[in-house]
């Protein structure tokens, strides 16, 4: 790795403006270095920039900041030594504002606090130098080496979980989806109720919808979901790029989920209404009133929305099973208990499950039909996607599922190293560069006729 040192030369003290002279000197060094970097032909070359604190005081002034930043960004590694805490913070701010990228700062001492707070993500190391860095940081770890795990495992999982909540069962998208599916049915009903504002559901159903009946699976998804295990995250750092490239949080997905919510709301509402239309819904000849239709529709929503989240999860512990199927069971239990309260409190929902709905086969078959009708398009979509455009974590999941990593260890090792390959820094990169260099020499030796030894 080529090193570029920028330092404050001991300029002629007799010059009129020593500060100005020093600055010009530094600017010249920066310009030369930039030239050198630009003229470099070797695509695998890496540069390291080394600066000391004294030089930084000149560089961080407004007129030189941007040249410095441009040079620094072209280098693979920048080492600033003997810098004051304030300068650490200023350098971080310069990078953050100048490049517009997300920055992470890690430190363990009180002198790192400024830098940690300035960066987008601050990581503090708790230990020998005390707890100041930890108290100022967003994340704290016990040893520096845990940073790899923090980023590549937890960072990757967090990104997937949040993106998943939003979109597809991904948290945020899921919130859009389930509330669109639920809220639009209320709206459609208004068209049939003279737009008078009458709700087709009992008030308690609506209260519990977001609080109890559909929130637990989302929480379990947000806390426990893992698309690939932690070993794989560490072995395939390239998966981390899914987050950097923001593959999961794009408008296409968000609109897709909203569309799914719209479709689900239409299916839920119209199928339920037409199934319970005006004829008797039981062998006893009774017709369905608003309470019965509303309860049946709501049951379908609970099933559809919870099955949807189950379809998007890829990691099922007992907790997820408990939360998803438990939420659905909780709905029936609630309906039963609510119906058992005196009509003073339960009103039209008094005994609605045991007396009216449960003995009616239409109730159960309507729920089954609506649930599967809501989830079929999504199932078809993910099946097609997995078949035609599998993403990296899909392929890796398959390799693990079919135990191909055990059968073919060479392939596994090779893919792991390829996933790390395109980095310009670090021990691995230097080793790779050396290997490439030697390999290049070896092929040259073989292509030319054998020279006399």
């Amino acid at each position: 790795m080529k090193q570029i040192c920028i330092n404050t030369a001991n300029t002629d003290m007799l010059a009129q403006d020593p500060k100005k002279a020093a600055k010009e000197n530094i600017l010249m060094q920066i310009t030369n270095a930039s030239q050198m970097v630009k003229l470099e032909n070797d695509p695998h070359a890496a540069f390291a920039l080394i600066i000391d604190g004294k030089t930084l005081t000149y560089i961080l002034e407004d007129d030189m900041k941007h040249q410095f930043l441009n040079l620094a960004v072209d280098c693979a590694s920048v080492i600033c030594c003997r810098v004051s805490p304030k300068q650490k913070a200023l350098v971080t701010r310069l990078v953050k504002q100048g490049t517009g990228k997300t920055t992470l700062a890690i430190g363990d001492g009180a002198n790192d606090v400024g830098m940690i707070q300035e960066a987008d993500i601050g990581v503090g190391i708790s230990g020998v130098e005390g707890m100041q860095a930890v108290m100022a940081s967003d994340f704290s770890i016990a040893q520096f080496r845990f940073l790899e795990r923090l980023l590549v495992v937890h960072g990757h999982w967090c990104y997937k979980r949040i993106a998943q909540m939003v979109s597809n069962t991904s948290r945020i998208c899921y919130f859009f989806y389930k509330n669109i599916a639920f809220g639009l049915t209320l709206f459609y009903f208004e068209a049939f109720a003279g737009f008078s504002g009458q709700s087709v559901y009992d008030d308690w159903y609506m209260l519990l919808f977001n609080v109890l009946l559909t929130s637990l699976p989302v929480i379990s998804l947000g806390v426990f979901e893992q698309d690939v295990s932690s070993e794989i995250c560490l072995q395939f750092p390239a998966l981390y790029q899914q987050g950097q490239k923001n593959l999961f949080f794009d408008w296409y997905r968000i609109f897709g989920w909203m569309g799914n919510g719209l479709y689900s709301s239409l299916v839920i509402f119209f199928l339920t209404i037409i199934i319970f239309y005006d004829q008797a819904f039981r062998v006893g000849g009774q017709t369905a009133d608003m309470a019965a239709v509303g309860t049946a529709m709501f049951t379908s929503i609970i099933w559809a929305v919870n099955c949807q989240i189950a379809l998007t999860m890829s990691h099922f512990t007992w907790i997820q099973h408990l939360f998803i199927w438990g939420s659905i069971a909780m709905w029936y239990v609630f309906l039963l208990l609510y119906g058992m309260l005196s009509p003073k409190y339960s009103g039209n929902a008094f005994r609605i499950l045991i007396e009216a709905l449960a003995p009616s086969p239409i109730f159960w078959s309507a729920t089954l039909l609506v649930t599967l009708a809501c989830n079929l398009p999504y199932l078809a979509h993910i099946s097609f996607q997995r078949c035609l455009h599998p993403m990296d974590h899909h392929v890796i999941q398959e390799i693990k599922y079919y135990k191909k990593d055990v059968e073919d260890r060479h392939m596994w090792t090779r893919e792991r190293s390829k996933a790390r390959q395109r980095t310009k820094i670090g021990f691995t990169a230097r080793v790779d560069a050396k290997i490439r260099h030697l390999r290049g020499k070896l092929t040259k030796k073989h292509s030319t006729p054998t020279s006399p030894s």
Partner: protein, 352 residues
Amino acid sequence: MSPGAAEGGFETSSAATKKHSKKPKYSRFTQQELPACKPILTPGWVITAFIFIGIIFIPIGLASLFASENVVEIADRYDEDCVPSIYASDTLAYIQSSQTNKSCTKTLTVPKKMKNPIYVYYQLDNFYQNHRRYVKSRSDKQLRSKANEFETKDCSPEATVLVSNKEMPIVPCGLIAWSMFNDTYRFSLNDKAIQVNKKGIAWKSDREYKFGSDVYPKKFQSGVIGGAKLDENIPLSQQEDLIVWMRTAALPKFRKLYGKIEVDLEANEKITVVIQNNYNTYSFRGKKTLILSTTSWIGGKNDFLGIAYLTFGGLCLFMVISFIFLYVVRPRPLGDPSYLSWNRNPDGLLLN
């Protein structure tokens, strides 16, 4: 100040002194290593899932359709036919006058054999029982018990009447009760009357818990008459027509149970029905229909459930075929590392 700093001299003093470790206690939960199943959608699973759904749906659809086809239903709209021709242009005057003859006779032909019990419904159209203002206009407290007679809060304008300068509550109050349906039907076959059983048409929970047996109608329909009058000697828990009516319907087109006929009706029999056309649907262009229907295990006649199941079942099987086609035409070997993004486009993976 570092609590773990070892005082070198004392460390080795006793074997029992263990070096203080800050490592948190390991637990599978906190380390996110709980045993998990990680199902993935392989082609096998996809095809199995769709076949399974198709196999379940199609028989259910066929059974539902079959049951619905076995239900025999007679529907007869009578609100237009039952207005005498002289009043054809002024139906409102006809229906609102107490002098006009509201009796109307119609003949129904039984299309297929109908086995008892045969349910008699009246169907109303364009009647918004689900309108918010209407739904609110009742007092469940008053209906439950005589002690709550004066609880007429939401019932206005049908809440109270002035009787010798005192506000007396109307029982049952509110617009729902006030607008109760009051057409009656008398059936006869070959001049022999067919009995219509009007008991047991309301939900048991309504009869026993929501409509009190000590509540009697009072001052009902004492102002503008909106519908049926109630017998003041019968408690509400036995006024099943009222109970059925007060279960507000979900849609503007709805049916309510009128009664049950407990004899069989043979095919091609001609039933004569004498209708008392009392109820005013003419002012809002509503429709009234008389329905006779048998039931099956799925209830009344509605082919939609069966058709919907068959449609989705068919769609699933179509999906199966298209997936099989896809996997045959464009097979993707599973777990093939050449599909990883860094193998597909080697230049695409720069960390910038």
